[in-house]
């Protein structure tokens, strides 16, 4: 099994190295072509520059409101759904939290029952009762393990989804900031009006 692990890690490192190699020979003329970004004229360059400067100013606002992926993942690792609440994804948060509580609760319930049957099995003196309690203890223990595994899968999926959702949240956050900038600028009879 250790060999399989080593092989997988080796493949991953190799793939990362290969991905970083240049795809084709370097063409300086193409690389330094002033029109490569579609700026056919000075006016188009100016238009891009002005837009870029405006967007740079919005970055400060974005930095304040952005959520870090490791941060939300850590929260979800502690309490599944907590990371989702942080990024205002309340439905998913409710689903993961309630799902985790139910699955974990069921697991603990069956584990407790298996322990009870196990104690009865230990204290029993008749062979039929001994066999019956042992079977029940084993059955409940197996069920509790299934719930534990389900919880583990749910927890893992919650972590994965937290990362994905945080990424989407951050992307949407930027779009909202940009859109709000245009909402705050309106054309009135007195000219252009900016609301803060």
């Amino acid at each position: 099994m250790k060999t399989i692990t080593k092989v997988i890690i080796l493949i991953l490192i190799s793939s990362l190295t290969v991905l970083q190699l240049p795809a084709q020979a370097f063409d300086l003329d193409k690389f330094s072509n002033p029109k490569k970004y579609g700026w056919e004229s000075f006016e188009q360059r100016t238009e891009f520059r002005n837009d870029h400067i405006e967007r740079q100013q919005l970055l400060q606002l974005y930095e304040v409101k952005v959520r870090s992926i490791p941060g939300t993942m850590a929260k979800s690792a502690i309490f599944p759904g907590w990371g989702h609440y942080t990024i205002e994804s309340y439905n998913k948060g409710h689903a993961f939290l309630s799902g985790s509580v139910v699955v974990l609760g069921a697991g603990l319930y069956f584990y407790s029952r298996s322990q009870d049957y196990y104690k009865q099995y230990k204290n029993a003196t008749q062979i039929d009762i001994i066999n019956s309690n042992y079977d029940k203890a084993e059955q409940n223990h197996t069920t509790s393990l299934i719930f534990a595994a389900t919880y583990a899968i749910l927890w893992g999926f919650c972590l994965f989804d937290t990362a994905e959702s945080t990424e989407n949240y951050n992307a949407n956050l930027w779009d909202n900031i940009v859109n709000k900038r245009f909402e705050n600028i309106s054309l009135s009879p007195n000219g252009i009006e900016v609301r803060f």
Binding site: S32, R55, F160, A163, A171, L173
Partner: protein
């Protein structure tokens, strides 16, 4: 089981952390921080093609711009102007503008050294267009001014426009002071050309020139004053005295030396107001006349001639009104009943008594018309005086007045015709006699209408002269052809006899 769980957890973390946007962004920009700018640009370009997060896109573009900036610096340091320019354009940021301006400036210098003047200025123009506030701008503008003026020293407009641009942004700059020396050279020509243009355009050019401290302002101000005087003179010819006066004052504001001339012209203008005002008075347009008279006070406060004109006009208006009142009274008196005019009128009057009262009435009326005419010499009043006098004569001795009118018609011309007719009758009737009726006056139908007759009758000839006379208007109308001819002083026999017979 434990190993599978661990592997699963690792894979999950790997996918979550390394497959995410943040990782890709950080990976793309990482080369910038290791000063591998070319790689950074390419990786950022690749990242930008698939990125979904606008914030990372903006940030990555910023890093890309910085990378190009660094590449441009390296290219410029390596004396590769072309590459430096291209990278500076691709950087497309305010931070790189100075370097880009420097590239254009250096390109221009190189072209000048090669003798490609026009191409060199193309680079300068590019620098002015793309980086108008770079530190090279004053020098570039100065060089363009120098070049434009040296190329054609009669066409200074381009140099002037460039100087205005230079002055507005770099007043006091070394190159602005140098450019001013060129502008001072062509200023006299500028002023001459401005004076040659129409007034508005000339003024615009000169007022613009005076805003810039290019040499002494006196010649410019003198020229402005000249244009204002020209405008004022033109406005005087168009009777626009108010604007003329305003422009004269502006001329003095710009050139005190014009004060004496302007004062004289203002006196003339005031005089023009008075003359025009009096013309309006003659046309009885008193309202506008007063406006003009009062306007003279704006030109010369308390101008005596204007005061006198106002006084005269006020008296004239009063006289006109009084004359009209007299005229209206006379007209009312003509229509009035005798009893309303004279309290001693009896209930029944004889013709003679009535005539006496009528004479009295028209003597009063005549007096009113005469007073009206003395106050306002209107032809209508004069005519009414004549009518009143005639009516008085009519009531006193209508027959005598009728004969007097016929006899006196056009210097006794009718009497001459009658004499000719009598001479004819004498010659024709040597052996016989003929009758001469003398002047006969009959009352005719219509007010003041009388018929005046004169007849010469023999066996062979019957000459009847007949006229209708209006004693009020002195109008004489010939009733037959013989009489009509007599009014021309002629006596024509042949037609007369037949016609007279027909008439009779």
């Amino acid at each position: 089981m434990n190993l599978i769980f661990k592997l699963g957890l690792m894979a999950l973390l790997f996918v979550s952390l390394f497959g995410c946007e943040t990782y890709r962004y950080r990976n793309a920009i990482s080369s910038y921080y290791t000063e591998r700018y070319t790689v950074a640009v390419e990786e950022i370009d690749t990242y930008l093609k698939e990125s979904k997060n606008g914030a990372y896109v903006t940030s990555a573009e910023l890093i890309r711009s910085k990378s190009y900036h660094q590449l441009a610096i390296r290219a410029y340091t390596g004396d590769n102007l072309v590459l430096a320019t291209r990278f500076a354009i691709l950087a497309n940021s305010p931070a790189t503008d100075t370097l880009l301006a420097k590239c254009y400036y250096d390109f221009g210098l190189r072209e000048f050294e090669k003798g490609n003047i026009d191409k060199g200025f193309q680079f300068y123009d590019q620098a002015l267009l793309e980086i108008p506030d770079s530190r090279f701008t004053p020098e570039i503008l100065y060089k363009k001014i120098e070049h434009a003026y040296s190329r054609d020293n009669t066409n200074y407009l381009e140099a002037w426009d460039l100087y205005k641009q230079l002055y507005s942004s770099y007043e006091g700059n070394y190159y602005e002071r140098e450019a001013k020396k060129i502008v001072v050279v062509f200023t006299p020509l500028y002023i001459t050309d401005a004076l040659a243009k129409d007034s508005e355009e000339g003024l615009r050019l000169l007022l613009e020139l005076i805003e810039y401290p290019v040499g002494s302002t006196k010649p410019t101000k003198d020229a402005i004053a000249q244009i204002y005087i020209r405008k004022a003179e033109q406005e005087i010819t168009e009777s626009d005295f108010a604007n003329a006066e305003s422009n004269f004052k502006l001329a003095v504001y710009y050139d005190e030396g014009q004060r004496a001339y302007v004062k004289r012209r203002l006196m003339d203008t005031a005089e023009d107001y008075i003359i025009t005002g009096k013309k309006l008075v003659a046309q009885r347009d008193f309202e506008n006349a007063f406006i003009l008279f009062n306007k003279t006070f704006e030109v010369i406060p308390g101008y005596k001639k204007a005061l006198q004109a106002i006084e005269e006009t006020t008296i004239l208006i009063n006289n006109i009104q009084e004359a009209k009142d007299n005229y209206d009274s006379a007209k009312r008196m003509e229509k009035a009943n005798l009893r309303n005019l004279f309290s001693d009128v009896k209930a029944k009057l004889t013709a003679k008594e009535r005539n006496e009262y009528e004479v009295k009435r028209y003597e009063l009326i005549l007096d009113l018309y005469k007073r009206a005419y003395r106050l306002d010499s209107l032809p209508n009043y004069k005519k009414e005086i004549t009518y009143a006098q005639n009516i008085i004569k009519n009531f006193k001795d209508p027959e005598g007045f009728a004969v007097e009118l016929i006899k006196g018609h056009e210097s006794y011309i009718i009497k001459q015709a009658i004499d000719k007719a009598r001479d004819f009758m004498v010659k024709e009737n040597v052996t016989t006699t003929f009758s001469d009726s003398g002047w006969e006056v009959l009352v005719a139908s219509g007010n003041f209408q009388y018929e005046v007759r004169y007849s010469l009758v023999s066996y062979s000839h019957k000459l009847y002269f007949r006229w209708l006379v209006n004693l009020k208007t002195e109008e004489i109308t010939a009733i037959n052809t013989l009489s009509r001819n007599a009014m021309s002083g002629e006596f024509i026999l042949q037609a007369e006899e037949n016609e007279n017979e027909n008439d009779n």
